[in-house]
Amino acid sequence: MNEFNTLPLWLELTTAALLLTGSVFALTGAFGLLRMKTFFQRMHPPALASTLGTWCVALASILYFSGLKHMPVLHAWLIPILLSITVPITTLLLARAALFRKRMANEPVPEEVSSGRDRGN
């Protein structure tokens, strides 16, 4: 297929740079997930891949396919939108589950915020 070669150079450069940036951010997230000491610290690095990592890769995909087909192909943008709705839900539920389980195991975590107010905190 000949049309593969019609991509202008600046578009290829931008796509390549975006892909590499996205993957490096995902790697940093995995590195942090492995390296952080406590569970709640480990919850933060994965957000790197689900936000900026995904944005970069989706933007690269949009640019590449738009250049390939000579028309705007925007549907890859649905993935960051979908992730920005679903990821907070799982993260939030997991944080609550972790708090619940750590309280059950008597590990040092803050007590429930509602009971904190009753004591005049």
């Binding site: 070669n5 995902a26 569970f39 994965p46 890859a76």
Partner: protein, 92 residues
């Protein structure tokens, strides 16, 4: 596709694979159940991103739908697991 973009795609696929390997270490090491759920959720996100990059590599639209499906299944799976950790049963 010229060599430049093809090489960048290969390099980013390699970096994603490396990230997956690090995540797998966390998945097997634990130590707690919520750590494993977190690692599994991250694996889903990495797999989805890899699908998008593969779509660029093969210049095919179909991979996008695979990525969308992985994102959805990842959400449902992590949600059910987190819910299970919260109460010990999935459906109340």
């Amino acid at each position: 596709m010229t060599g430049l973009l093809a090489n960048a795609v290969l390099a980013s696929l390699f970096i994603f694979a490396l990230a997956m390997a690090l995540t797998l270490v966390r998945l097997f090491r634990g130590p707690s159940a919520q750590d494993r759920v977190l690692a599994l959720d991250y694996l889903y996100i990495l797999a989805m991103l890899m699908m998008l990059v593969l779509g660029i590599r093969y210049a095919s639209d179909t991979y996008f739908e695979g990525a969308l499906l992985i994102a959805l299944f990842g959400f449902v799976g992590s949600f059910a697991l987190a819910k299970f950790l919260l109460r010990g049963e999935v459906i109340e």
